[in-house]
Subunit: 339 residues, 4 copies
């Protein structure tokens, strides 16, 4: 149960509502975001909404039977729109393109990518400065210093920054330089990180866990939302299955399901989802047709020389072609009446 | 190693080649199909092709390092085209649409589907008369009688028949009435069935196993090909993973990979791959963009009354819309230079 | 619902029961096995047992809500005992050991294995004469001829034969020489094969599918039982997961679950379940502690020279040691009060 | 390559070695633990050990081709023994029993568990005070306050504490009260947490990831070891597969494989691995036979009233029985010559 409170509700009014709900055997969590204030009631009993419906200070009451509540479409039919400023949006009915290298490597590399993005009308750039690596001996990224370097070049060019945050202590130090905090697939259930990201007012893109269910992804988003941050984006990036012909199994089924269950925008990452350069474009376009609100993919001036993930990274010519195909495919999709 | 023989090769010439290859430590399988004659050599040693290259009766020699040989693109770059007669083809560069109910149920049902297909320019109809069911107590299909009934109605309407064969003894009795024998996901590794299908001259569509790898699907096709039948179609229909929000996980990654590894056409089945009606169209279109040569989906006049799989079956209005969208999406894809 | 009929029931009595149940909206399947006669009623409505309970000819009525019925423990609490003759049994409360090579290769090989089994008090021998192989070019077994050779040597030695049947046409030709028909993991859902095995009066051991659920294994057994054959054994042999450090993932969880849900004996195959020789013994013993009624494993005089599966096959010294350890572990388990 | 340095090596000697290895094209990581000092060289070229073998300050050189280095058995054949003080050890050749509730709930609950452990000679207690929960609305544990309460009661009773650490900031505050830091399955690849646990001198038990490979578990351990902490324990707790009849699929194959690849002790968690109370004992004993060095399981005075995981928690009578059976099974295993 979600009770949306009026903006001008008084404390006594709120306490009275909470009291009543507690008496009904429900546990209450107060959720206060940048946009509104809610009471989330968790309980298993059937309840009689009339017992609270008349109370003052209530905007609306929604029964949400899913395990996740605030990210469910059942109470908020209007899709969430993420506004990054300068007219750059990620939202239902639009097609966001986010491109860039796996790792931020050098000033020269950043400049070449930015030039490529600008040449192709792409306004959001991905890149890792903190890299989660299976082996402790692998390259772990340029860190904050790299991020600042990147920020200075990107701001000038009007490019937004999407980059992974790996731990709580990085949130604050990254804050001035980041447009979208990315939560990586290995951190999808790092609940402390999610809790803390609920406290910031910048967008958060959560990747589906390595073997995370669709339900778990939504519950991870629920952590951030219930922590106070509504600016959420979901990302399908492939799951782990028995098949090894591709790096991961890109689960495009997840796209229409997530779109139907949640009001949050959904992005597809074909680079990690497939893992083989030659087939990334097909999977990107398949993602568009599956209903994605955006595509995030890896590109690098010379993929063979990339510090990481080179085998799944497009060169600039491929990237330019793909961006154009994504837009044309999306234009066609818009003419269809799909769910 | 595949040695393509000349059509006019003499027995002594062939024996001489076989002798030489055996001496090189390779095991030979003779493959004689409707279209040609080949020697498939299996062995692990490096060999010197010059030892046999000069021999008479040889058309061409190909080194194929994959576990599968005859279905590999490495020796046959030209895509295989399946000709069902009456100008109906399944092939690379074209978009086949196969639609119909999960189970053949009655004369009335067949007629209504055929009318729907004709109204929408669809020339191939799917339907099960022998149904593999997990429980022995479930409906197992109308059997041969149902197939004959269907055949009579379909032939008149110029519609081709795609239906599942479950066991060796059915191959012959089904033969007069079938255009494409379908091998179901539970029979992908029923090697005796595959062997016997190698002996017929009608097309065979092999579905990927419930948890089959891409490599295993190709090896299953190799069984049929090496048995003598080149008319093969591969079908991605979703794999079993931990995710339960959809019936199966449609692995569209498999489409470009299969297209790159093999010369056989690849069909996508979004109905089984997703399992939820509302999301079948998106996945069908995603399949087109992933590079499929055709889409097979389930439709029924009243899906709610279907004997089986109703939850993933489109009604005729949805089907008509989807067929149109498939064609438009394919038309766009053709303008792209994808692998 | 399972209605166990009296042995002396009359046709009119039976018809009267069937009529009544049909009127209750239930579909009836008549099951006649070597041991008894049953009516299996399938339906979803709550029914009032009193409407049929008084009818003549009824031995007992059981409500079984599982998808599988006859193999459920809910109607038959007494465990099924498989009697192979000569005092050789597979049953709850006992520990069957079945050992032998992956493939039957030669007279000499058979003799050496039989001698090894006799030296170690093992009375059941496994071995393949029809081999399911992913590649059509691999060794496919010695066939019926090999089985007859084996049979002649085994009968003399008092050894029972466990071997795989791959297709319907083999059932009859193998019949005189087989003690337990094995259904391989790729055929667990070959429903026609299961149907036909329901008609024979020899034991059938069904291996769990490559990615089969526990529920599906029980439903496959239901096919054979409802076809008329109660002599069933279930076998856990490892499932397909993302992990590749072992050949399969031996799912020992399945053992206590199968024992709790079904009255059928459960065998564990650590050779395929692990796939690495050095770790087969540990997994065999783990299987015993998990509650298995028997262990089936691969052994060969010189595993390195085996035609197939050599990497997971024990030599005779390892096998002798393991047989002894299995017995000691089982002796200890019997002193525990486990479910 | 691992170069074990002499304890009395001088800085110039060390620098000279590093210089030489760098010149060979290898990247060096210096690892300094409580027990020793090492140089880990990462590179792909074949190297000539004689180029450094003569250098002063070197204790030993080991070529380790695995991705993980310090946790590999290839350089340290002697199994690692974890000494918790008061004669309580976790080590190869011994059988550790760790029992306790899923969550720490109250003083009364702690007391009842401690009494039960003492009655049964169990010296290590598990319990969660920081609980990772899929839903933000679920009980998240008593936190540090609960840990201190527990510590005071446990210390008095001579019981060691095993409890989960979820984030970097908790490491220090938990330090005085913890004997073994547990890294949960959702944090196995929380690399920052692993890095920081490398800096403490208390034991760390790493659970295998929800869908983690055996290789990834060893690489996660490598993070902690290369950070400076050799006191590591590995824990198999079940993996995520398509099977839903059990909560997870306990992968006992992992036990002998981990024991063969690494010098670290291996613990089995049958409670999470199975998830159904009635079958936990069988899986615990199976784990012992698979080669585990210890078993960790959940017990509670009244499992039905437990705050979490009640369905997989043993009551005290079951726990007492199991502890006895574990010891007897281990005693039998010790008489076997298993790998």
């Amino acid at each position: 149960m979600i009770i949306q409170l009026k903006l001008d509700i008084t404390e006594p009014q709120k306490e009275s509502i909470i009291l009543e709900i507690n008496q009904m055997g429900y546990k209450i969590t107060e959720v206060k975001t940048q946009l509104g204030e809610y009471l989330v009631g968790i309980g298993s009993k059937e309840i009689d909404i009339r017992r609270i419906g008349h109370k003052e200070g209530i905007q609306d009451i929604h029964i949400v039977s899913d395990e996740y509540k605030m990210v469910s479409k059942k109470w908020k039919a209007k899709p969430t729109s993420i506004d990054l400023g300068d007219g750059i949006l990620i939202k239902d009915g639009d097609m966001a393109i986010i491109a860039g290298p796996c790792s931020i490597e050098s000033e020269e590399q950043i400049k070449s990518v930015i030039q490529h993005l600008k040449d192709n009308g792409i306004t959001m750039m991905r890149g890792g400065v903190f890299k989660p690596r299976s082996s402790p001996y692998a390259f772990r990224g340029l860190g904050l210093e790299g991020l600042i370097l990147w920020y200075n070049l990107a701001r000038e060019a009007g490019i937004k920054i999407v980059t992974e945050v790996m731990q709580v202590s990085q949130i604050e130090e990254m804050y001035p330089y980041v447009d979208i905090y990315q939560v990586g697939a290995r951190n999808t259930q790092n609940f402390n990180l999610l809790d803390e990201l609920g406290k910031v007012d910048k967008a958060v893109m959560i990747k589906r866990g390595i073997s995370g269910t669709i339900e778990e992804l939504l519950q991870s988003a629920e952590y951030v939302f219930s922590g106070g941050n509504e600016k959420l984006i979901l990302c399908e990036r492939g799951i782990r299955t028995y098949e090894r012909a591709s790096r991961n199994t890109l689960d495009l089924n997840a796209v229409p399901i997530l779109k139907a269950k949640s009001h949050l925008p959904v992005i597809v990452d074909p680079s990690h989802g497939m893992g083989i350069r030659a087939y990334v474009p097909q999977m990107a376009l398949a993602g568009v047709m599956a209903g994605a609100d955006g595509i995030i993919y890896e590109t690098h001036q010379v993929p063979e020389l990339a510090y990481s993930d080179g085998q799944q990274t497009l060169d600039f010519a491929q990237s330019a072609l793909l961006a154009d195909q994504i837009r044309k495919t999306f234009a066609l999709r818009k003419t269809f009446s799909l769910l």
